[in-house]
Subunit: 257 residues, 2 copies
DNA sequence: CGCCGGCTTTGATATGACTCAATGAACAGT
DNA sequence: ACTGTTCATTGAGTCATATCAAAGCCGGCG
């Protein structure tokens, strides 16, 4: 299949959400509801996936993709969260996104990884070799359409993040992040606000938060304290946040005038 | 075609490079060499494109896509450059990318635009209606594969830009930009440096540059002056830059230690 | 229980980039 | 050539965030 070969040759590493229904990979939560992005996979597709996939469990803090290394595998996450990032030689780090249950980490079949990925907690995932991936696409060309949709969704998120990193103040970044994280956790529908007093989990360290928002941990901490003092949020513990006044957060996030 | 309908419903607005060879749209330069990303279109594809496309010429400064407005068309650029950006209510603006000859601006067939686009100079382009686009995909499903490739390439660029916006200093941003712009202009192959003393066109105002790099025009100007003083670049006129010492620029851009 | 080590919060100071302001250069129209 | 307009450069001062430093908190483990 020369045309197939071409695809894999040209495909770049990238993090996308396959939003597979369930699971070949055994994940109970990988419904199409993830990002509401594309249809669930068919049973045929799932069965095929089950045959070519390799299941793995990784401990927290495992580096599964390293920038600059040859890209060898595709991953589909079942449970747990992964951070994706790029680094500068002097150690500065920018987290470019997160991948959670249902997300898909596609790698260049040839070429090198252009970002790194580490598990933030114990992670269960399915790994596909280059050839398994290729045969999957051959078997189900419709997958490409689905991948295209999710890749485009990722691009939309990237553009939002560029606006945040390039033009928003520290407090605006924090407010924006909290709301977008709520959307990501499907606490609220895309484009809507969560209800007041909604509690959400936040499995990120302050360092992760800082590296995602282009700030320092001190500034992150100060901004959160500020929001807390003003009664917009509550922080019962380090991994939970209560959104007391989402509308007020939104006003800050979008710099409403 | 229900499946086709679904695609268009879910497709998000996004700027991608179709890298069409040339053209239905009459562009002499739209070779596959653009980004070296995917194969040229076949003659069949080009002929089909010619039938469904609508050719337009736009004056410099025309707003062709506005964030929040309903998305109606797909565009394929023949000549000229377009800036893509997002804005905050108070006027702060972040340019998220540029689209030049051969690039493709895809719009959600339903839904709203998530970014705005304006021509930076006179632009010739082809416009496709939602239905024309849909029939094109129906006719040539392989287009989706190509779009997937270019969407992934755009994601790679976005990730680079996030690192730049979140973690680089002003001078590093300028140096990075100059080199990536050279790559974009195909003055050098991806991943390589241009030859010393290479001259390149830079059809951006300082304001565009600032809004792309998350800086102010003053800081952009100062950083360029600094590079000029140190003999890394030459600025014969506002729309041209000579890269005297690309390696030195690269050392700054990548924060080599 | 109590000490230790890592992470977070808070405080004090420094600084890179922004803001405000003036000057300079390029260009269009008269 | 002159004038007005717009955009770019340069300078001076300010401010938001980074950096440096010191507590505070919390979980693990002896």
């Amino acid at each position: 299949m020369t045309s197939l070969k071409k695809i894999t040759e040209f495909r770049r590493p990238v993090a996308i959400n396959l939003a597979s229904r369930a699971s070949a990979s055994g994940c109970e939560d990988c419904g199409a509801r993830h990002h509401g992005l594309c249809d669930a996979l068919t049973d045929d597709e799932l069965a095929f996936l089950a045959r070519v996939a390799q299941r793995l469990t990784l401990a927290a803090g495992t580096a599964l993709i390293e920038e600059g290394e040859p890209a060898q595998y595709f991953y589909n996450i079942n449970s747990g969260n992964i951070r994706l990032f790029k680094s500068l030689p002097d150690g500065r780090r920018q987290i470019t996104g997160f991948a959670g249950p249902g997300h898909f980490l596609g790698l260049a079949a040839t070429g090198k990884n252009v970002f790194s990925a580490e598990t933030m907690e114990p992670v269960q995932l399915c790994r596909f070799s280059r050839t398994a991936m290729a045969s999957m696409f051959e078997e189900f060309p419709v997958l490409e359409r689905k991948l295209l949709d999710v890749a485009m969704h990722e691009l939309v998120l990237s553009q939002q993040q560029m606006l945040l990193l390039g033009r928003k103040t520290a407090i605006e970044r924090i407010a924006s992040f909290l709301l977008s994280w709520a959307e990501r956790q499907e606490i609220c529908a895309a484009g809507t606000l969560p209800k007041p007093n909604t509690t959400m989990k936040l499995p990120l360290s302050r360092t992760d938060l800082a590296d995602f928002l282009g700030l320092t941990i001190e500034t992150v901490s100060r901004s959160l304290s500020y929001l807390k003092r003003d009664g917009l949020i509550e922080i019962p513990n380090i991994h939970e946040i209560v959104l007391l006044r989402p509308q007020a957060l939104s006003d800050i996030a979008e710099a409403a005038v």
